[in-house]
């Protein structure tokens, strides 16, 4: 039984077809690289998977549940299983790094939030910046805060849209290694990236979005 299955999924924005009759089967704990030209539909795929948008046609089954039919609160609960890393980071600018990382735990009323948050910040190399306001952090540090926030909840699925965009090679590699490690513990990880060298180097499953379809590269 596959964890995620896209069945004949279509997503059309006005007259622009982004995904058309797309099928995809992903197992639990897989690490997937998603490549494709800018505007090919990587972000749309993430939106559909995280139930931020609904497809025009088709079904998306996650753990045997069709997320397309989810109600508002079910969608919120479903999103709690996600670790989301986006290009724009989406951090609370006036909050500290720690305050941002703690957010998912706050929402899930999880205890020991601060201890966990500090441990995750340490993992991404930001233990010294925990109490710094996000506004004063560099782009690379913001990116890492965003990664730490995605990891803290022990998510079932991680979607990362260009997570290594602002990071140097060494740090990019380190972050990818963390994500791969997480996938080995059972987290399904999707990473959209343009860094083909890194994709080749890490030797993981790669999907390419081309001509409105998601195909193995």
């Amino acid at each position: 039984m596959f964890m995620i299955s896209f069945n004949n999924v279509c997503k059309i924005y006005s007259r622009n077809k982004v995904l058309f009759n797309t099928n995809l089967l992903i197992d639990k704990g897989e690490f997937i690289f998603l490549t494709g030209l800018p505007g090919s539909g990587k972000t749309t795929f993430f939106k559909l998977l995280s139930a931020l948008e609904k497809p025009n046609k088709g079904s998306i089954l996650v753990n045997n549940q069709n997320i397309v039919n989810f109600h508002r609160d079910e969608i919120s609960d479903y999103r709690k299983k996600f670790g989301i890393i986006l290009q724009n980071n989406y951090l609370l600018e006036g909050e500290t790094a720690l305050g941002n990382v703690i957010l998912p735990l706050k929402i899930n009323d999880n205890g020991d939030a601060e201890v966990k948050a500090k441990a995750v910040l340490d993992l991404v190399g930001l233990n010294n910046h925990a109490n710094k306001i996000v506004n004063y952090l560099s782009e690379s540090e913001k990116q890492r805060v965003s990664i730490a926030r995605a990891l803290i909840n022990g998510p079932e699925i991680i979607i990362a849209d260009d997570p290594t965009k602002n990071l140097d090679q060494e740090l990019s590699r380190k972050i990818m290694e963390i994500l791969i490690k997480l996938s080995k513990y059972g987290t399904t990880v999707f990473v959209a990236t343009h860094e083909l060298n890194l994709v080749k180097e890490l030797n993981q499953r790669v999907f390419n979005i081309k001509n409105e379809k998601i195909v193995p590269a």
């Binding site: 993430f46 609160d73 919120s76 709690k80 986006l86 989406y90 609370l92 998912p104 009323d109």
Partner: protein
């Protein structure tokens, strides 16, 4: 054991729920306490609208209360000197039998003089009974109707004109009419102002909430992205609107009370000098509570609407 665990879990959930409520409530006080000037500048449109609305409502209420009694027409009849007691009682009976007449009072010469001295506040006259220019008097209190519609009124004046026992009579009809029409015009103006100010208040609430929600847009999107339920997101912003408008209301109410005591005391002294009996009414507790609840309900509805709109908006 399972039940106990469920109860424990429920207790934990409830504790988190109330803790989050408390956190949101306390964080809403951040701006009013840390930078009251900023709070004042943000809330000024709402404070002014509430204050003006209250002021106009108070004027309306006071006019309604005080000028309502002036709706009665007063006719003073001076009777002829040689009039008999039988004629007086017959005249009295005739007048009081009319539908529009509220009361008829008869005064002898001395009583008339006393009444006159009381109204003029000149007690010295009472001692000088030897010279009394006032005749026997009757005072009629009657309802004031619209001139066009009233036939019985014309009949009463016809009767008074033709009656042989009456020397002359005088009525405050014109004054009552003037008061009545002035009151009507003022009422219409006040109603217009009250409606306009209510609209202004709604606009200021809407504007405040829109600007606050717009400022918090990234925050709302992040919470939404991280899987926070709508109630969780709303909680924070509902408290902000609640605190801001409660404080605005309180501030307006206090300013209104200061203005009320400042102006009514001096106005009462001036009115007393002109022998005008005027009772100033303040906003009652029920009226204040009703307006407060209305404002809070409107605030809640608008916050719900605006945040829902933001939650539904596209995230990425």
């Amino acid at each position: 054991m399972k039940k106990l665990f469920q109860h424990k879990y429920l207790f934990y959930k409830l504790r988190f729920y109330f803790k989050h409520h408390l956190e949101c409530f306390l964080s809403s006080f951040e701006v009013p306490i840390k930078s009251p000037l900023r709070f004042l500048s943000i809330s000024m449109p709402a404070i002014l609208s509430i204050l003006m609305l209250f002021t106009f409502f108070l004027i309306y209420k006071n006019i309604e209360n005080n000028l309502y009694n002036n709706n009665q027409e007063k006719i003073i009849i001076f009777l002829k000197k040689n009039i008999s007691n039988e004629s007086i009682s017959e005249l009295r009976k005739n007048i009081s039998s009319r539908d529009d007449v509220i009361s008829v009072k008869y005064y002898t010469e001395i009583e008339s003089l006393k009444l006159y001295s009381e109204t003029k506040n000149e007690n010295i006259i009472i001692e000088n009974f030897d010279y009394n220019p006032l005749p026997k008097t009757m005072v009629i209190l009657k309802k004031n109707y619209n001139i066009d519609k009233n036939i019985s009124e014309a009949k009463l004046y016809n009767f008074l004109d033709k009656n042989n026992s009456i020397e002359l009579y005088n009525s405050n009809k014109i004054f009552v009419e003037k008061i009545k029409y002035t009151r009507d015009v003022v009422f219409k103006l006040l109603i217009f102002f009250i409606f306009s100010l209510t609209a202004l208040l709604l606009l200021s609430i809407n504007n405040f909430i829109k600007s606050e929600v717009f400022k918090m847009k990234p925050e709302i999107l992040i919470y939404n992205l991280l899987g926070a339920r709508r109630s969780f997101i709303l909680r924070k912003y509902i408290y902000i609107s609640f605190i801001y408008f409660s404080l605005s209301f309180l501030f307006s109410y206090l300013v209104l009370q200061c203005l009320f005591y400042l102006f009514t005391n001096s106005t009462i002294i001036i009115l007393k000098l002109y022998l005008i009996d005027y009772v100033f009414l303040n906003i009652s507790f029920v009226e204040a509570l009703f307006s407060y609840i209305s404002i809070i309900i409107i605030t809640f509805l608008m916050t719900f609407y605006e945040i829902n709109k933001q939650i539904k908006s596209r995230i990425l």
